[in-house]
């Protein structure tokens, strides 16, 4: 049994192991915590090293993967064995991650995702880079091959297809990344905080016992730290960002300390979200995120089924989306507004609870009641603005939902990707013939949709859209 197979022949079926350093890394990650417990409990260090080091080694030894012609088989577990079989046909997304340490040792973590739950995810950490990359190429090239030459009597004869040429669609310079960091929603929040800093400082300086100017400075300093951290985070995560297209696959590479390489077939993109905030609108930029059907939710290494483009010029969106969806061209859909009853409900929903609270407070604590009343009144323009932005559109290929007052969002769902459709109507909505509409899509835990559509439109959408997905 070999540990480092020749990189060019990944399809020769024989169980292999991940890189031996995996055992040491596993020991290091698992061991440090236990080390504290064990040494304080009075056991010797040598005993500890032997036991947990041995355990880690045994675990590594019992985890093997086998690269078959049509599927990847992972065998795992010392006492209770687990065998995971992943047909290449079902692969949704392939990730390679390389943390700083892995880069130093020439290693990489490969992750292969199928639709749905965590059970469909194969983690091969760690492999040496060459193996990881050739395995990725192999898995990607066998996705369709398995369907075509199913009847091939000699699967071992299958060879690696010539790699598809990669066309870089999009790269982000360092300056743009700083702009992305500075205009992130967190920073918009900080800006609001700064505006509020002076009155807050004046109001509370007496009760805290610090001079008003000192408190103001302190709050401003905190705001600056948050803004700087957000910018640095964005810089590190998205440094050296490129998005490219190889055949029908989107390839995404980014990260300064930890490099991430994502390969996602564009036909598997389930949901695209375009969002911005007032700051970004001022600069004419937006961010885009798209989701695959890969495992639901986040786990170590972040949300895997989600791919972000942190900053794009608004003007470049049509070209980018056309490429993302493999269409010839793309124009932003004309959103149909919701009925006027939705505006009334939008205002009532945003003001009524606060008004009730204000009424109670007026009796108990008049000043607080007046403040609550003032805040409640803001709900009126807020509701009007929310109504103005909200709407939906259906084109032959996608469904679009727009929403948001400050933070504008446009959700796009390819009609072919819709799993099912739902409406939910509360008693309040029933009185005014409105309903909440949602589309269920693979993998994602959240279902894109829209509040307060009129019942007739929502009903026809609910009936028509999931059925159109077949055509």
């Amino acid at each position: 049994m070999q540990c480092d197979p020749p990189a060019l022949e990944p399809h020769q079926s024989a169980p292999r192991r991940t890189h031996p350093l995996t055992a040491i890394a596993g020991f290091a990650a698992f061991g440090v915590g236990v080390l504290l417990v064990v040494t304080t409990a009075g056991f010797g260090l040598d005993l500890f090293l032997t036991f947990f080091g041995g355990l880690s080694l045994v675990r590594w030894w019992f985890r093997t993967y086998e690269v078959g012609p049509d599927e990847l088989i992972v065998r795992d577990g010392v006492l209770s064995r687990r065998i995971q079989v992943v047909p290449y046909r079902r692969v949704q997304q392939v990730d390679i991650r390389r943390s700083l340490l892995m880069q130093i040792f020439g290693l990489a973590a490969l992750r292969i995702e199928t639709a749905g739950s965590q059970a469909g995810t194969v983690d091969l950490a760690m492999l040496d880079v060459g193996t990881a990359e050739s395995l990725r190429t192999w898995v990607l090239s066998r996705r369709t091959a398995g369907v075509v030459d199913n009847a091939d009597p000699n699967p071992a004869a299958a060879t690696l297809a010539a790699p598809t040429p990669e066309v870089v669609m999009f790269a982000i310079s360092g300056g743009r990344l700083v702009l992305a960091g500075v205009t992130a929603s967190a920073v918009a929040f900080v800006a609001a905080f700064v505006v509020a800093a002076v009155p807050v400082a004046v109001a509370f300086s007496a009760s805290v016992g610090i001079a008003a100017y000192a408190l103001t400075l302190w709050l401003l300093f905190l705001a600056a730290v948050v803004a700087a951290l957000s910018t640095i985070g964005s810089l590190l995560t998205y440094a050296r960002y490129t998005l490219s297209l190889a055949g029908d696959d989107l390839r995404l590479t980014h990260g300064a300390l930890e490099r991430r390489h994502v390969t996602l077939p564009r036909a598997r993109v389930q949901h695209i979200e375009i969002s911005d905030n007032p700051l970004r609108r001022a600069f004419g930029v937006v961010s885009v995120s798209f989701r695959s059907a890969a495992s639901i939710g986040a786990d170590r290494g972040g949300a895997t089924g989600r791919v972000d483009i942190p900053i794009v010029n608004r003007a470049d969106i049509p070209g980018l989306l056309a490429a993302l969806m493999g269409a010839r061209s793309w124009t932003p859909p004309e959103l149909q507004p919701r009925p006027t009853a939705a505006r009334r409900r939008g205002i009532v929903r945003r003001t009524a609870p606060l008004l009730a609270l204000a009424a109670i407070l007026l009796v108990i604590e008049p000043i607080a009641g007046v403040i609550a009343f003032g805040v409640a009144v803001v709900g009126i323009p807020w509701g009007v603005a929310a109504h103005r932005r909200a709407g939906h559109a259906v084109t032959p290929s996608i469904t679009a939902f727009g929403a948001g007052v400050l933070h504008h969002r446009l959700h796009l769902v390819p009609i072919e990707r819709i799993q099912s459709a739902r409406t939910v109507q509360s008693p309040f909505q029933r009185r005014v013939d409105l309903t909440t509409f949602a589309l269920d899509i693979a993998g994602s835990a959240s279902a894109p949709g829209l509040y307060d559509l009129d019942v007739e439109a929502a009903t026809s959408l609910r009936r028509a859209l999931p059925r159109r997905a077949l055509e």
Partner: protein, 163 residues
């Protein structure tokens, strides 16, 4: 109710078996009933004032009855329709949920029977798509209908991974 599988997909609106209301009533009325009994026993044991006994009895009985009425209403509002290409559900007492699940998205069909359902001869059919948020559970079907529906729908389920 029609129990022949092939006739299930003709687009007629169907109700659930009324016996499912018993299952739901037991589920929603049992907790308040047990709490009431526990409260009454405690009150009697510690010699608490009599009005507390009245409050506990009245509140407990009201909650239990509400659970039963709720279960009955939930049954009365439940409708499902199997079209040749998709199933449509409509249910909910206060919040009305309606959903459409096309057969070609079906990844898996589960049949679930809890002990009480088994006694009453009922099954729940759960259609699973690749989305976790799909609402496609049809509870309270007679066993024969559920099995027939499952067999019929499996022939129509997504052939590829339908993702």
């Amino acid at each position: 109710m029609n129990t022949r599988a092939n006739d299930l997909l003709d687009g007629t609106e169907q109700q659930l078996d009324p016996k499912i209301a018993i299952v739901w009533a037991v589920g929603s009325a049992a907790p308040p009933l047990f709490l009431t009994i526990a409260a009454v026993v405690t009150i009697l044991a510690v010699d608490a004032p009599e009005w507390m006994l009245g409050v506990a009895l009245f509140g407990g009985v009201a909650l239990t009855l509400a659970g039963v009425v709720w279960a009955r209403m939930a049954w009365a509002r439940w409708r499902w329709t199997a079209w040749p290409d998709a199933v449509e559900l409509r249910h909910g007492v206060l919040r009305v949920h309606e959903s459409v699940v096309p057969y070609h998205r079906i990844q898996q069909i589960d049949i679930v029977r809890d002990p009480l359902e088994r006694v009453l001869g009922l099954s729940s059919v759960i259609l699973r798509t690749a989305s976790a948020s799909s609402d496609a559970k049809i509870p309270g079907l007679p066993e024969a209908t559920a099995d027939g529906l499952r067999r019929r729908l499996l022939t129509l389920a997504g052939v590829d991974d339908a993702v």
